[in-house]
Symmetry: C2
Subunit: 343 residues, 2 copies
DNA sequence: CCACTTCGTGAGAGCGCTCTCACCGACTCG
DNA sequence: CGAGTCGGTGAGAGCGCTCTCACGAAGTGG
């Protein structure tokens, strides 16, 4: 437990600990950093002194000489709207925090919704104030990761960057397989005309899930029908509109693969409004397995991806890179289907 | 844009900027900190030099001498389970981030789910590594805020601390009024026997929402009936069980105020299972206005609290305290009812 | 028994910044 | 016209830590 301390007097320094232990600052420093070449006597004396004085190293002083900040940024490059539409975002943050904290680093949380904010962060990172960056929700072909890497700040991205730059390091869910599994699940159920509502095509998740849907249809000997593809944006409202369009264009469809759970919920609402039943008339499968999927009526069949794992994996890769350990440049995480009432 | 920089050469220092501007380090520092007593000539020269060299101040060095870390912790003292059950948690983080970033400080994200993690954080804070703490999801009469304040680290808590310590600084939603409004809404609708499913009674939100419910009934001339009060825990499962109990104990009830939206969703499911209809047989009102409330069937009438405002307000109070400005010790934020189909 | 290595240690420099203090020129005032 | 004031400035001392280097004691081999 920390002692009461008046604001005027200062926390104990290494000097104090060393004096109390009867050794030099250098030796105390060695012990506290866990360096080798210290005798057991000295080690014990220093540890005891540190405990008695409730010593906590001054990170600023350490950072000044080591040129490491011992902190990484969790940078969300996302507009506010979409940020709030990404329900497992928190899970990613949690996963990342676990790893980062275990390594003794601190996690700095940053939102950069606008180009101005992004540039401000670049400047900040240029000052050497973070050892690495976890970049979440990168858009289009934003050059931010390249800029950071050029400045010598290792960066790990969530989701394959659209730019396709082969030097970038990222972690992604297996969106193609997930979409294929979802579509196959509908095929197995006997669906003949399976529509899809896509995600935004400026994100790899949107592109890949569409690709997986098409791959499954082709594997089953069907030719993808463009009338059965409607554009969505991962939101409830987008799913609602897209589903109405699909029903108008092709009333005989009997199943839908929605590229996100929110989209699927919007689609189910549209189906209900048209007087049809889920899953009897039209089966629905989503993607993400957000909590709303369980609460929805009927409960939504979907594809689960673990964003906590995503955060953990990203953090682990980043730590490896910061410490100069070799690490794979790309990790693709598995997904699995979750069967509920809607299909 | 930052220039390409080989890992070996270092970022420009104040020394470099000063030399380029033809002034001393002290003057350059004055300009960059925005201090007074600098001639216009010197100011312009320094700013130009800083721009040309893409100078970014070294925070560690500054921190070392000013004894300020220019960072605050966003500390979540919450078990993982509950953390994931608090859907607007992210909104609070966002609100806090906006304010903190605008003040030029950085936000360090910390989760302390276990006593060991909490103690580790105490030790960390004792080292003077944060200028203040935003404490989220404090439980029971946890002594953490008192400890931090004793160490001279200003702390702002979300939600009235149960310990009732009058020295603590907090921001809370007006839970009593919210619960009263929700109950009055049911009374106005003509409900005669209004039950409630409470939140956990080791949290002020749970206690206050029960108090508001009772106050509304008494104001309407009713004597609260203990058979109509069931214990919940803010979860779907808890709401489901509690509602079954209520229906068994008092089959003639015609309305329920649930202390959270998730609880309300569980309750609606139980009502449905018992063969009754919402809102025709039993009207339901929740609390929070989480996104699931809109998606639920029927859409949930509820009480909205803005957790983004909460985060913003907490951050503002903390910044005021850090900078030594006087500030109120307690802020209670308003709530409003949102009418949807369930009542 | 002497050269050599190894190990534990301490002295001391310096990381990049802020801040105090002293100084200097220009001004005001009696 | 000398004494006092004041805005602008630079020299220099640290802040608390790490890290290099040198040194003495102990161990090792020819």
């Amino acid at each position: 437990m920390a002692q009461r301390r008046r604001p005027t007097d200062r926390p104990p320094t290494l000097e104090v600990v060393a004096a109390r232990a009867g050794v030099s600052r250098a030796t105390a420093s060695r012990v506290l950093r866990g360096a080798a070449n210290v005798s057991d006597d000295a080690r014990e004396a220093v540890l005891a002194a540190a405990r008695e004085t409730a010593y906590a190293p001054n990170r600023a002083a350490r950072s000044l000489v080591t040129r490491r900040s011992d902190s990484v940024a969790f940078l969300v490059a996302e507009s506010e709207d979409r940020l709030f539409n990404d329900p497992y975002f928190l899970a990613m943050l949690r996963g990342a925090h676990t790893q980062i904290a275990a390594a003794g680093l601190q996690l700095i949380f940053v939102i950069a919704s606008t180009p101005a904010e992004a540039e401000q962060f670049e400047h900040y990172a240029a000052g050497g104030h973070v050892d690495g960056v976890l970049l979440v929700s990168l858009h289009g072909d934003d050059g931010l990761p390249q800029t950071l890497e050029r400045m010598g700040v290792p960066t790990v991205i969530n989701g394959r960057p659209l730019s396709g730059d082969p030097s970038l390091c990222y972690v992604d869910s297996d969106n193609v397989t997930g979409a294929r599994l979802a579509t196959e699940l509908l095929l197995d159920r006997g669906a003949h005309r399976i529509a899809t509502i896509t995600g935004p095509q400026d994100m790899c998740a949107g592109q890949d899930r569409l690709a997986g849907y098409r791959a499954a249809l082709r594997a089953a000997g069907q030719t993808p029908d463009e009338r059965l593809v409607a554009a969505g944006d991962f939101t409830v409202a987008g799913g609602l509109t897209a589903m109405h369009d699909l029903l108008a264009a092709c009333p005989e469809l009997d199943a839908v693969f929605a590229a996100s759970d929110l989209t699927a919920i919007g689609a189910m609402r549209a189906i209900e409004q048209s007087g049809r039943k889920v899953p009897d008339d039209i089966a629905v499968v989503g993607f993400d397995d957000i909590r709303e999927a369980q609460v929805a009526t009927p409960a939504l069949t979907t594809v689960r991806q673990s964003l906590q794992d995503m955060g953990r994996t990203m953090a682990r890769m980043l730590l490896d890179r910061i410490d100069g350990r070799t690490t794979e440049r790309v990790r693709i995480l598995p997904v699995e289907t979750v069967r509920r009432a809607s299909a």
